[in-house]
Symmetry: C2
Subunit: 222 residues, 2 copies
DNA sequence: CGTTAACCGATGATCGATCATCGCTCAAGG
DNA sequence: CCTTGAGCGATGATCGATCATCGGTTAACG
């Protein structure tokens, strides 16, 4: 499963595209979310480069990106480490996320009223995934629900800021590493959808509380 | 003033430190804030590298950092451009900043009560700078005031998120490029300090409104 | 045996060169 | 004259090699 060389032999049929550093970043993200590297472990640029059949440069760039996502720690002249996923760190994400999404809901209250059908769609898929025992699906649609809200705000500063929290990845890591439960069932989202539908001025606040409710879930939280 | 070579001849006395890419980033930030490159203009990696006497690599890394700060735009295989500073973009920063700082104030309401003296210090310096006609000082201390609040929250997700907004730089750019006025006088901050001192539950909300008030300042905003 | 400093392998940082892609130019074809 | 595509210069992307730094190892010294 590893050792997947990224060399492009010959003319490389088709649209090719995608800088190597992007592909490397995706692979590293994948490895991280699967626990290929555990927290505290070192990531050696040259080793990864050789393994992927690329040079040090794109690996280095990819690691810089992961640093921006707070997934790894880079120390000048020392190297790269996988950051610990502690319940404390996880707990610090929720307040920020809550504040940002509340703002989004307040900015987008008008647009959201027209998009409740999309939100309901996500809710339904979430529900279906839950019944099918599809954890991955639950996470994906759950995050999509929230991303929809943030995108609806149409604020080009807000969206990248929210994306930088990488909710989906953190949720996955939390599930596997901290063995948290997934309580994020569809029914929790229905009151929110209703609030958006009637453009309830309190919808933002409801959303914020909804998110802070996630914070109580981790089993690991003492 | 340009053409400052970064070569390190000989044993380089002293602590040396600081990767070249960091120095380059600082220089580029400086150039950007001074208008060395105007919005829409192209930044060519090799040209900058030669000018600074370094190779393409550290320049490239520095540009990636600037991209994360939303100061430039990078298009794969196309190059780097300085992003426009439009009143619209600027106006989108304030709501996000407001939401984040409100959260900070609410998280830190206890710690802030013990730090009102620091806040007052910044207010005083702001005031002094204003009287001295020292615009730069006003900006610096004004931002420091707000950073103090965000730091007091002690949330390791919140702080980097707030820093990524690069308030100080945007304020400077706004002053020079959009010719906005600086209404951010010290007296505006005094009610905030008082609210923090008495741990007013509404302090966060006050701070948020205070920040949104900045948004009305730009002359350029139609 | 504990302390200190030169030594050295591993690895991040940087370099100079090469590869690949983008846009533009310009001439052939209609 | 307009369209089309080969040719080409500029420049980003990637590479392989080299430089510099960090940390652990070793050996002289007391």
């Amino acid at each position: 499963m590893t050792g997947e060389s990224l060399h492009r032999p010959g003319p490389m049929t088709g649209p090719t595209r995608a800088p190597l550093s992007d592909q490397v970043r995706r692979i590293l993200l994948d490895h991280l979310s699967r626990g290929r590297w555990l927290p505290g472990e070192r990531i050696v640029e040259r080793r990864v480069a050789m393994e992927l059949g690329v040079s040090q440069t794109p690996v280095r760039e990819a690691l810089r990106d992961l640093q921006a996502l707070q997934l790894v720690e880079l120390s000048p002249n020392k190297g790269t480490w996988v950051r610990e996923l502690t319940p404390q760190r996880l707990g610090q994400v929720y307040p920020v996320r809550g504040a940002l999404e509340r703002l989004a809901a307040e900015l987008a209250h008008k647009q959201l009223a027209d998009r409740v059908d999309v939100l309901e769609e996500h809710t339904a898929r979430m529900h279906a995934a839950a019944r099918a025992g599809d954890v991955d699906g639950q996470v994906r649609h759950g995050v999509a629900f929230h991303r929809e809200i943030v995108e609806a705000a149409g604020n080009s500063v807000l969206l990248p800021n929210w994306e930088s929290l990488t909710i989906e990845l953190w949720t996955r890591l939390s599930l596997t590493r901290l063995r948290t439960e997934l309580h994020d069932n569809a029914s929790d989202h229905e009151p929110l959808v209703e609030a958006f539908r009637r453009q309830d001025p309190e919808a933002g606040r409801l959303l914020q509380l909804h998110i802070l409710g996630y914070a109580h879930e981790p089993i690991g939280a003492s």
